[in-house]
Symmetry: C2
Subunit: 272 residues, 2 copies
Protein backbone atom coordinates (compact mmCIF):
# COMPACT_ATOMS: atom_id res chain seq x y z
CA UNK A 1 0.00 0.00 0.00
CA UNK A 2 3.09 2.22 -0.18
CA UNK A 3 2.31 5.72 -1.35
CA UNK A 4 -1.44 5.19 -1.52
CA UNK A 5 -3.69 6.02 1.37
CA UNK A 6 -6.47 5.37 1.90
CA UNK A 7 -6.75 2.39 -0.41
CA UNK A 8 -9.61 3.27 -2.77
CA UNK A 9 -12.88 1.72 -1.67
CA UNK A 10 -11.37 -0.02 1.36
CA UNK A 11 -13.53 -0.34 4.49
CA UNK A 12 -11.89 0.86 7.71
CA UNK A 13 -10.48 -1.83 10.01
CA UNK A 14 -12.72 -2.58 12.98
CA UNK A 15 -11.84 -3.69 16.51
CA UNK A 16 -12.21 -7.30 15.22
CA UNK A 17 -9.78 -7.00 12.29
CA UNK A 18 -6.84 -9.32 13.13
CA UNK A 19 -4.18 -6.59 12.74
CA UNK A 20 -6.11 -4.31 15.10
CA UNK A 21 -6.59 -7.19 17.55
CA UNK A 22 -2.84 -7.87 17.46
CA UNK A 23 -2.06 -4.18 17.98
CA UNK A 24 -4.50 -3.90 20.86
CA UNK A 25 -2.60 -6.63 22.72
CA UNK A 26 0.36 -4.21 22.81
CA UNK A 27 -1.44 -2.23 25.51
CA UNK A 28 -0.20 -5.07 27.78
CA UNK A 29 3.42 -5.03 28.93
CA UNK A 30 3.87 -8.81 28.56
CA UNK A 31 2.89 -8.59 24.90
CA UNK A 32 5.24 -5.64 24.32
CA UNK A 33 8.13 -7.53 25.88
CA UNK A 34 7.31 -10.64 23.81
CA UNK A 35 6.94 -8.92 20.45
CA UNK A 36 9.40 -6.06 20.87
CA UNK A 37 6.69 -3.65 19.71
CA UNK A 38 4.62 -0.93 21.33
CA UNK A 39 1.97 1.66 20.49
CA UNK A 40 2.67 5.37 20.09
CA UNK A 41 -0.55 7.37 20.21
CA UNK A 42 -1.16 10.97 19.30
CA UNK A 43 0.29 13.37 16.75
CA UNK A 44 3.43 14.37 18.66
CA UNK A 45 4.41 10.78 19.37
CA UNK A 46 3.59 9.51 15.88
CA UNK A 47 5.51 12.35 14.25
CA UNK A 48 8.56 11.66 16.40
CA UNK A 49 8.24 7.90 15.82
CA UNK A 50 8.12 8.39 12.05
CA UNK A 51 11.16 10.67 12.17
CA UNK A 52 13.06 8.05 14.16
CA UNK A 53 12.29 5.33 11.61
CA UNK A 54 10.88 2.88 14.13
CA UNK A 55 7.30 2.61 12.82
CA UNK A 56 5.99 -0.72 11.48
CA UNK A 57 2.41 0.32 10.90
CA UNK A 58 0.12 3.33 11.32
CA UNK A 59 -3.60 3.26 12.18
CA UNK A 60 -5.75 6.38 11.71
CA UNK A 61 -9.43 7.20 11.98
CA UNK A 62 -11.07 9.07 9.12
CA UNK A 63 -11.21 12.21 11.23
CA UNK A 64 -7.53 11.99 12.22
CA UNK A 65 -6.51 11.26 8.62
CA UNK A 66 -8.26 14.45 7.54
CA UNK A 67 -6.81 16.51 10.40
CA UNK A 68 -3.23 15.26 9.85
CA UNK A 69 -3.29 14.61 6.08
CA UNK A 70 0.32 15.71 5.54
CA UNK A 71 1.70 13.49 8.29
CA UNK A 72 -0.31 10.50 7.12
CA UNK A 73 0.68 10.83 3.48
CA UNK A 74 4.33 11.34 4.44
CA UNK A 75 4.12 8.09 6.40
CA UNK A 76 2.60 6.24 3.45
CA UNK A 77 5.21 7.74 1.10
CA UNK A 78 8.01 6.51 3.35
CA UNK A 79 6.76 2.93 3.08
CA UNK A 80 4.87 2.65 6.37
CA UNK A 81 1.69 0.54 6.13
CA UNK A 82 -1.16 2.98 6.82
CA UNK A 83 -4.67 1.71 7.58
CA UNK A 84 -7.95 3.44 8.23
CA UNK A 85 -9.67 2.29 11.46
CA UNK A 86 -13.07 2.92 13.00
CA UNK A 87 -13.47 5.18 16.05
CA UNK A 88 -14.25 2.13 18.14
CA UNK A 89 -11.05 0.40 16.99
CA UNK A 90 -9.12 3.58 17.89
CA UNK A 91 -10.67 3.54 21.38
CA UNK A 92 -9.35 0.00 21.86
CA UNK A 93 -5.82 1.04 20.89
CA UNK A 94 -5.83 4.01 23.24
CA UNK A 95 -4.76 4.12 26.86
CA UNK A 96 -5.95 7.67 27.36
CA UNK A 97 -9.34 9.19 28.06
CA UNK A 98 -9.40 11.20 24.85
CA UNK A 99 -8.15 9.02 21.97
CA UNK A 100 -6.57 11.08 19.20
CA UNK A 101 -7.37 8.53 16.50
CA UNK A 102 -3.76 8.16 15.33
CA UNK A 103 -1.64 5.27 16.61
CA UNK A 104 1.66 3.83 15.35
CA UNK A 105 2.99 0.33 16.01
CA UNK A 106 6.71 0.89 16.74
CA UNK A 107 9.84 -1.03 17.69
CA UNK A 108 10.76 -0.73 21.41
CA UNK A 109 13.15 2.18 21.88
CA UNK A 110 15.41 1.06 24.72
CA UNK A 111 19.07 0.27 24.12
CA UNK A 112 21.93 -1.24 26.15
CA UNK A 113 23.13 0.82 29.11
CA UNK A 114 26.74 1.07 27.91
CA UNK A 115 25.60 2.33 24.50
CA UNK A 116 23.51 5.21 25.83
CA UNK A 117 26.16 6.31 28.36
CA UNK A 118 29.04 6.60 25.90
CA UNK A 119 30.20 10.22 25.92
CA UNK A 120 27.17 11.40 27.91
CA UNK A 121 27.46 14.70 29.84
CA UNK A 122 23.92 14.93 31.25
CA UNK A 123 21.97 11.83 32.24
CA UNK A 124 18.64 11.43 34.05
CA UNK A 125 18.05 8.25 36.08
CA UNK A 126 14.68 7.17 37.50
CA UNK A 127 14.73 4.48 40.19
CA UNK A 128 11.54 2.54 41.06
CA UNK A 129 9.26 5.17 39.53
CA UNK A 130 5.67 3.89 39.51
CA UNK A 131 3.55 6.35 37.53
CA UNK A 132 3.74 6.05 33.73
CA UNK A 133 2.83 9.71 33.35
CA UNK A 134 5.78 10.72 35.53
CA UNK A 135 8.23 8.62 33.52
CA UNK A 136 6.97 10.22 30.31
CA UNK A 137 7.01 13.75 31.70
CA UNK A 138 10.58 13.32 32.98
CA UNK A 139 11.65 12.00 29.55
CA UNK A 140 10.18 15.16 28.02
CA UNK A 141 12.04 17.32 30.55
CA UNK A 142 15.29 15.40 29.93
CA UNK A 143 14.87 15.87 26.18
CA UNK A 144 14.14 19.60 26.51
CA UNK A 145 17.18 20.05 28.78
CA UNK A 146 19.40 18.32 26.22
CA UNK A 147 20.10 15.22 28.30
CA UNK A 148 22.13 12.58 26.50
CA UNK A 149 20.32 9.63 28.06
CA UNK A 150 17.51 8.54 30.35
CA UNK A 151 18.01 5.39 32.44
CA UNK A 152 15.04 3.60 34.00
CA UNK A 153 16.46 1.59 36.90
CA UNK A 154 15.05 -0.92 39.38
CA UNK A 155 11.33 -1.56 39.30
CA UNK A 156 10.47 1.46 37.15
CA UNK A 157 7.37 1.54 34.95
CA UNK A 158 7.64 0.52 31.28
CA UNK A 159 8.38 3.68 29.22
CA UNK A 160 6.46 2.06 26.34
CA UNK A 161 3.24 2.24 28.38
CA UNK A 162 0.62 4.32 26.56
CA UNK A 163 0.34 6.94 29.31
CA UNK A 164 4.11 7.31 29.42
CA UNK A 165 4.36 7.73 25.65
CA UNK A 166 1.56 10.30 25.72
CA UNK A 167 3.17 12.30 28.53
CA UNK A 168 6.55 12.24 26.76
CA UNK A 169 4.93 14.02 23.77
CA UNK A 170 7.46 12.61 21.29
CA UNK A 171 10.51 12.57 23.58
CA UNK A 172 10.26 8.76 23.85
CA UNK A 173 11.86 8.76 20.40
CA UNK A 174 14.31 11.62 21.00
CA UNK A 175 16.42 10.71 24.04
CA UNK A 176 18.48 7.49 24.12
CA UNK A 177 16.87 5.26 26.72
CA UNK A 178 18.10 2.24 28.69
CA UNK A 179 16.40 -0.01 31.22
CA UNK A 180 18.28 -1.91 33.92
CA UNK A 181 16.69 -3.71 36.89
CA UNK A 182 19.95 -3.78 38.82
CA UNK A 183 20.20 -0.26 40.26
CA UNK A 184 23.70 -0.77 41.66
CA UNK A 185 24.88 -1.83 38.19
CA UNK A 186 23.48 1.47 36.91
CA UNK A 187 25.42 3.42 39.55
CA UNK A 188 28.63 1.60 38.64
CA UNK A 189 28.06 2.22 34.93
CA UNK A 190 27.50 5.94 35.56
CA UNK A 191 30.75 6.15 37.49
CA UNK A 192 32.66 4.24 34.83
CA UNK A 193 31.26 6.62 32.22
CA UNK A 194 32.87 9.49 34.17
CA UNK A 195 29.61 11.00 35.41
CA UNK A 196 29.21 12.61 38.83
CA UNK A 197 26.06 11.16 40.44
CA UNK A 198 23.64 13.54 42.20
CA UNK A 199 20.78 11.93 44.12
CA UNK A 200 17.74 14.16 44.61
CA UNK A 201 16.69 13.93 48.25
CA UNK A 202 14.43 16.19 50.30
CA UNK A 203 16.58 15.98 53.44
CA UNK A 204 20.02 16.33 51.86
CA UNK A 205 22.30 18.91 53.45
CA UNK A 206 23.61 20.15 50.09
CA UNK A 207 21.18 22.57 48.40
CA UNK A 208 20.73 22.76 44.64
CA UNK A 209 21.73 26.43 44.59
CA UNK A 210 25.14 25.55 46.07
CA UNK A 211 26.05 22.97 43.41
CA UNK A 212 28.31 23.81 40.45
CA UNK A 213 27.75 22.10 37.12
CA UNK A 214 31.07 22.16 35.33
CA UNK A 215 31.41 18.36 35.11
CA UNK A 216 29.32 15.63 33.46
CA UNK A 217 26.36 14.91 35.72
CA UNK A 218 23.84 12.14 36.27
CA UNK A 219 20.70 13.11 38.22
CA UNK A 220 19.00 10.30 40.15
CA UNK A 221 15.33 10.48 41.20
CA UNK A 222 13.43 7.94 43.28
CA UNK A 223 9.93 6.59 43.74
CA UNK A 224 7.02 9.07 44.05
CA UNK A 225 6.12 8.01 47.59
CA UNK A 226 9.35 6.63 49.05
CA UNK A 227 12.12 8.52 47.27
CA UNK A 228 15.54 6.87 47.01
CA UNK A 229 16.78 4.02 49.22
CA UNK A 230 19.65 4.45 51.68
CA UNK A 231 21.71 2.19 49.42
CA UNK A 232 21.35 4.51 46.44
CA UNK A 233 21.81 7.64 48.54
CA UNK A 234 25.07 6.38 49.99
CA UNK A 235 26.33 5.11 46.64
CA UNK A 236 25.76 8.47 44.94
CA UNK A 237 28.49 11.13 44.97
CA UNK A 238 26.20 13.73 46.51
CA UNK A 239 22.64 13.96 47.78
CA UNK A 240 21.06 17.28 46.77
CA UNK A 241 17.88 18.96 47.96
CA UNK A 242 15.80 21.60 46.26
CA UNK A 243 15.66 24.63 48.55
CA UNK A 244 12.15 25.12 49.96
CA UNK A 245 11.49 28.81 50.53
CA UNK A 246 7.82 28.49 51.55
CA UNK A 247 5.70 26.05 53.56
CA UNK A 248 5.51 23.17 51.04
CA UNK A 249 7.33 20.09 52.29
CA UNK A 250 8.35 18.88 48.87
CA UNK A 251 7.73 19.04 45.13
CA UNK A 252 6.24 16.21 43.10
CA UNK A 253 8.60 14.02 41.08
CA UNK A 254 8.13 15.65 37.69
CA UNK A 255 8.48 19.24 38.89
CA UNK A 256 11.45 18.34 41.13
CA UNK A 257 13.17 16.69 38.17
CA UNK A 258 12.41 19.72 35.99
CA UNK A 259 14.01 22.09 38.52
CA UNK A 260 17.14 19.95 39.07
CA UNK A 261 17.78 18.97 35.47
CA UNK A 262 17.15 22.46 34.08
CA UNK A 263 19.24 24.17 36.73
CA UNK A 264 22.18 21.96 35.79
CA UNK A 265 21.57 22.24 32.03
CA UNK A 266 21.38 26.04 32.10
CA UNK A 267 24.49 26.29 34.29
CA UNK A 268 26.44 23.93 32.03
CA UNK A 269 25.44 25.93 28.94
CA UNK A 270 26.39 29.21 30.59
CA UNK A 271 29.82 27.77 31.46
CA UNK A 272 30.57 26.83 27.84
CA UNK B 1 -18.45 16.69 70.35
CA UNK B 2 -15.37 18.80 71.08
CA UNK B 3 -12.50 16.76 72.45
CA UNK B 4 -14.23 13.42 72.10
CA UNK B 5 -13.79 11.28 69.04
CA UNK B 6 -15.27 8.96 68.12
CA UNK B 7 -18.44 9.51 70.10
CA UNK B 8 -18.84 6.34 72.17
CA UNK B 9 -21.20 3.85 70.54
CA UNK B 10 -21.97 6.09 67.56
CA UNK B 11 -22.55 4.43 64.19
CA UNK B 12 -20.49 5.86 61.33
CA UNK B 13 -22.28 8.27 58.99
CA UNK B 14 -23.31 6.68 55.70
CA UNK B 15 -23.63 8.19 52.23
CA UNK B 16 -27.28 8.93 53.12
CA UNK B 17 -26.59 10.85 56.33
CA UNK B 18 -27.72 14.47 55.64
CA UNK B 19 -24.35 16.02 56.62
CA UNK B 20 -22.55 13.65 54.25
CA UNK B 21 -25.08 14.37 51.51
CA UNK B 22 -24.53 18.11 52.01
CA UNK B 23 -20.74 17.65 51.93
CA UNK B 24 -20.91 15.52 48.80
CA UNK B 25 -22.61 18.38 46.94
CA UNK B 26 -19.38 20.36 47.45
CA UNK B 27 -17.76 18.26 44.73
CA UNK B 28 -19.74 20.57 42.39
CA UNK B 29 -18.41 24.06 41.70
CA UNK B 30 -21.86 25.70 41.80
CA UNK B 31 -22.42 24.37 45.32
CA UNK B 32 -18.96 25.54 46.43
CA UNK B 33 -19.60 29.02 45.06
CA UNK B 34 -23.04 29.12 46.73
CA UNK B 35 -21.97 27.91 50.18
CA UNK B 36 -18.43 29.30 50.32
CA UNK B 37 -17.20 25.85 51.36
CA UNK B 38 -15.11 23.12 49.72
CA UNK B 39 -13.64 19.71 50.47
CA UNK B 40 -9.98 19.10 51.28
CA UNK B 41 -9.14 15.41 50.93
CA UNK B 42 -6.06 13.56 52.08
CA UNK B 43 -3.66 13.90 54.99
CA UNK B 44 -1.46 16.68 53.58
CA UNK B 45 -4.43 18.84 52.67
CA UNK B 46 -6.32 18.21 55.92
CA UNK B 47 -3.24 18.92 58.01
CA UNK B 48 -2.64 22.21 56.20
CA UNK B 49 -6.33 23.10 56.40
CA UNK B 50 -6.40 22.51 60.17
CA UNK B 51 -3.24 24.60 60.60
CA UNK B 52 -4.85 27.45 58.65
CA UNK B 53 -7.97 27.40 60.84
CA UNK B 54 -10.41 27.11 57.95
CA UNK B 55 -11.99 23.72 58.79
CA UNK B 56 -15.70 23.50 59.64
CA UNK B 57 -15.94 19.74 59.86
CA UNK B 58 -13.81 16.60 59.45
CA UNK B 59 -14.96 13.23 58.13
CA UNK B 60 -12.80 10.12 58.61
CA UNK B 61 -13.19 6.42 57.97
CA UNK B 62 -12.32 4.01 60.75
CA UNK B 63 -9.16 3.01 58.94
CA UNK B 64 -8.06 6.64 58.38
CA UNK B 65 -8.86 7.52 62.02
CA UNK B 66 -6.56 4.72 63.15
CA UNK B 67 -3.81 5.63 60.68
CA UNK B 68 -3.90 9.34 61.57
CA UNK B 69 -4.99 9.21 65.20
CA UNK B 70 -2.87 12.18 66.29
CA UNK B 71 -4.15 14.45 63.54
CA UNK B 72 -7.77 13.46 64.20
CA UNK B 73 -7.61 13.97 67.95
CA UNK B 74 -5.81 17.30 67.49
CA UNK B 75 -8.69 18.37 65.24
CA UNK B 76 -11.29 17.30 67.80
CA UNK B 77 -9.32 19.05 70.57
CA UNK B 78 -9.28 22.29 68.58
CA UNK B 79 -13.08 22.28 68.36
CA UNK B 80 -13.56 20.89 64.85
CA UNK B 81 -16.59 18.57 64.52
CA UNK B 82 -15.14 15.15 63.70
CA UNK B 83 -17.36 12.35 62.41
CA UNK B 84 -16.70 8.75 61.52
CA UNK B 85 -17.96 7.79 58.02
CA UNK B 86 -18.25 4.52 56.12
CA UNK B 87 -15.87 3.66 53.27
CA UNK B 88 -18.73 4.13 50.84
CA UNK B 89 -19.47 7.61 52.22
CA UNK B 90 -15.75 8.42 51.85
CA UNK B 91 -15.85 7.30 48.20
CA UNK B 92 -18.68 9.75 47.58
CA UNK B 93 -16.69 12.64 49.06
CA UNK B 94 -13.62 11.83 47.01
CA UNK B 95 -12.73 13.13 43.56
CA UNK B 96 -9.71 10.87 43.24
CA UNK B 97 -9.28 7.24 42.24
CA UNK B 98 -7.82 6.22 45.59
CA UNK B 99 -9.83 7.88 48.40
CA UNK B 100 -7.73 8.45 51.52
CA UNK B 101 -10.72 8.31 53.87
CA UNK B 102 -10.05 11.71 55.44
CA UNK B 103 -11.91 14.78 54.18
CA UNK B 104 -12.35 18.25 55.69
CA UNK B 105 -15.12 20.73 54.90
CA UNK B 106 -13.31 24.08 54.70
CA UNK B 107 -13.96 27.75 53.95
CA UNK B 108 -12.93 28.84 50.43
CA UNK B 109 -9.37 30.15 50.51
CA UNK B 110 -9.35 32.90 47.88
CA UNK B 111 -8.97 36.54 48.86
CA UNK B 112 -9.22 39.90 47.06
CA UNK B 113 -6.53 40.59 44.47
CA UNK B 114 -5.29 43.80 46.11
CA UNK B 115 -4.88 42.01 49.45
CA UNK B 116 -2.69 39.20 48.15
CA UNK B 117 -0.49 41.53 46.06
CA UNK B 118 0.40 43.94 48.87
CA UNK B 119 4.18 43.79 49.31
CA UNK B 120 4.57 40.74 47.06
CA UNK B 121 7.99 40.08 45.50
CA UNK B 122 7.25 36.80 43.68
CA UNK B 123 3.82 36.09 42.19
CA UNK B 124 2.59 33.26 39.96
CA UNK B 125 -0.33 33.94 37.60
CA UNK B 126 -2.26 31.27 35.69
CA UNK B 127 -4.44 32.45 32.79
CA UNK B 128 -7.18 30.19 31.37
CA UNK B 129 -5.63 27.03 32.84
CA UNK B 130 -8.01 24.10 32.31
CA UNK B 131 -6.64 21.11 34.23
CA UNK B 132 -7.32 21.07 37.99
CA UNK B 133 -4.20 18.95 38.56
CA UNK B 134 -2.06 21.56 36.85
CA UNK B 135 -3.47 24.40 38.96
CA UNK B 136 -2.78 22.40 42.12
CA UNK B 137 0.72 21.37 41.05
CA UNK B 138 1.63 24.97 40.19
CA UNK B 139 0.31 26.12 43.59
CA UNK B 140 2.61 23.57 45.21
CA UNK B 141 5.56 24.80 43.13
CA UNK B 142 4.73 28.43 43.96
CA UNK B 143 4.58 27.56 47.67
CA UNK B 144 7.89 25.66 47.58
CA UNK B 145 9.55 28.54 45.74
CA UNK B 146 8.35 30.98 48.39
CA UNK B 147 5.91 32.85 46.14
CA UNK B 148 3.86 35.50 47.95
CA UNK B 149 0.70 34.91 45.92
CA UNK B 150 -0.95 32.84 43.22
CA UNK B 151 -3.48 34.55 40.94
CA UNK B 152 -5.92 32.51 38.88
CA UNK B 153 -6.99 34.74 36.01
CA UNK B 154 -9.50 34.50 33.16
CA UNK B 155 -11.31 31.21 32.72
CA UNK B 156 -9.03 29.21 35.02
CA UNK B 157 -10.24 26.08 36.81
CA UNK B 158 -11.55 26.36 40.40
CA UNK B 159 -8.60 25.81 42.82
CA UNK B 160 -11.10 24.30 45.26
CA UNK B 161 -11.72 21.39 42.87
CA UNK B 162 -10.82 18.08 44.54
CA UNK B 163 -8.12 17.20 42.01
CA UNK B 164 -6.54 20.61 42.40
CA UNK B 165 -6.53 20.37 46.19
CA UNK B 166 -5.02 16.90 46.01
CA UNK B 167 -2.27 17.97 43.59
CA UNK B 168 -1.45 21.00 45.75
CA UNK B 169 -0.66 18.64 48.67
CA UNK B 170 -1.50 21.27 51.30
CA UNK B 171 -0.26 24.35 49.41
CA UNK B 172 -3.89 25.41 48.78
CA UNK B 173 -3.80 26.61 52.40
CA UNK B 174 -0.25 28.02 52.35
CA UNK B 175 -0.06 30.55 49.53
CA UNK B 176 -2.39 33.55 49.42
CA UNK B 177 -4.67 33.03 46.44
CA UNK B 178 -6.87 35.35 44.38
CA UNK B 179 -9.23 34.75 41.48
CA UNK B 180 -10.07 37.38 38.87
CA UNK B 181 -11.90 36.73 35.58
CA UNK B 182 -10.67 40.00 34.05
CA UNK B 183 -7.11 39.18 32.99
CA UNK B 184 -6.29 42.76 31.98
CA UNK B 185 -7.33 43.91 35.46
CA UNK B 186 -4.83 41.39 36.85
CA UNK B 187 -2.06 42.79 34.65
CA UNK B 188 -2.83 46.34 35.79
CA UNK B 189 -2.90 45.27 39.43
CA UNK B 190 0.49 43.55 39.07
CA UNK B 191 1.98 46.69 37.56
CA UNK B 192 0.49 48.89 40.26
CA UNK B 193 1.95 46.55 42.90
CA UNK B 194 5.40 47.26 41.42
CA UNK B 195 5.90 43.81 39.92
CA UNK B 196 7.71 43.20 36.66
CA UNK B 197 5.52 40.86 34.53
CA UNK B 198 7.19 37.96 32.70
CA UNK B 199 5.00 35.98 30.30
CA UNK B 200 6.16 32.43 29.64
CA UNK B 201 6.05 31.83 25.90
CA UNK B 202 7.71 29.14 23.80
CA UNK B 203 8.58 31.49 20.94
CA UNK B 204 9.82 34.47 22.94
CA UNK B 205 13.16 35.90 21.87
CA UNK B 206 14.36 36.40 25.46
CA UNK B 207 15.64 33.19 27.04
CA UNK B 208 15.21 32.38 30.74
CA UNK B 209 18.97 32.08 31.23
CA UNK B 210 19.43 35.71 30.10
CA UNK B 211 16.98 37.18 32.61
CA UNK B 212 18.12 38.75 35.89
CA UNK B 213 15.94 38.52 38.97
CA UNK B 214 16.83 41.47 41.15
CA UNK B 215 13.35 43.02 41.09
CA UNK B 216 9.90 41.83 42.23
CA UNK B 217 8.55 39.48 39.55
CA UNK B 218 5.20 38.07 38.47
CA UNK B 219 5.36 35.00 36.23
CA UNK B 220 2.39 34.51 33.88
CA UNK B 221 1.52 31.10 32.39
CA UNK B 222 -1.24 30.35 29.88
CA UNK B 223 -3.58 27.55 28.89
CA UNK B 224 -2.15 24.03 28.45
CA UNK B 225 -3.01 23.85 24.74
CA UNK B 226 -3.07 27.45 23.57
CA UNK B 227 -0.62 29.27 25.83
CA UNK B 228 -1.11 33.01 26.36
CA UNK B 229 -3.10 35.31 24.08
CA UNK B 230 -1.46 38.08 22.04
CA UNK B 231 -3.20 40.58 24.34
CA UNK B 232 -1.51 39.20 27.45
CA UNK B 233 1.85 38.77 25.69
CA UNK B 234 1.89 42.38 24.54
CA UNK B 235 0.69 43.70 27.91
CA UNK B 236 3.47 41.88 29.82
CA UNK B 237 6.83 43.57 30.35
CA UNK B 238 8.74 40.67 28.78
CA UNK B 239 7.95 37.37 27.10
CA UNK B 240 10.43 34.70 28.19
CA UNK B 241 11.12 31.25 26.76
CA UNK B 242 12.72 28.27 28.44
CA UNK B 243 15.81 27.33 26.40
CA UNK B 244 15.31 24.00 24.62
CA UNK B 245 18.63 22.19 24.30
CA UNK B 246 17.27 18.94 22.82
CA UNK B 247 14.55 17.96 20.35
CA UNK B 248 11.47 18.51 22.57
CA UNK B 249 9.33 21.36 21.29
CA UNK B 250 8.09 22.41 24.71
CA UNK B 251 7.57 21.44 28.34
CA UNK B 252 4.18 20.83 29.90
CA UNK B 253 2.64 23.60 32.00
CA UNK B 254 3.61 22.31 35.45
CA UNK B 255 7.25 21.55 34.61
CA UNK B 256 7.63 24.82 32.68
CA UNK B 257 6.27 26.74 35.67
CA UNK B 258 8.60 24.82 38.00
CA UNK B 259 11.65 25.75 35.90
CA UNK B 260 10.73 29.44 35.55
CA UNK B 261 9.56 30.06 39.11
CA UNK B 262 12.47 28.19 40.71
CA UNK B 263 15.07 29.81 38.49
CA UNK B 264 13.84 33.22 39.59
CA UNK B 265 13.43 32.24 43.26
CA UNK B 266 16.96 30.79 43.51
CA UNK B 267 18.46 33.80 41.73
CA UNK B 268 16.60 36.23 43.99
CA UNK B 269 17.77 34.36 47.11
CA UNK B 270 21.37 34.29 45.88
CA UNK B 271 21.22 38.06 45.31
CA UNK B 272 20.13 38.77 48.88
Amino acid sequence: MTGSFPRPGADPFTERTPRVVAARKLTRRAERDKTGRFLAEGVNAVEAALASGTVYELFVTERAAAAHAKLVSAAADSGVAVSLITDRAADGLSETVTPQGIVAVCALVDRPLATVLAGARLVVVLVDVAEPGNAGTVMRVADAAGADAVILAGDTVDPHNGKSVRAAAGSTFHVPLARERDTSAVLSALREAGLRTLAAHGYASLSLDEVTFDEPTAWIFGNEAHGLSETVLSAADEAVRIPLYGKAESLNLATAAAVCVYTSAMAAHRAR
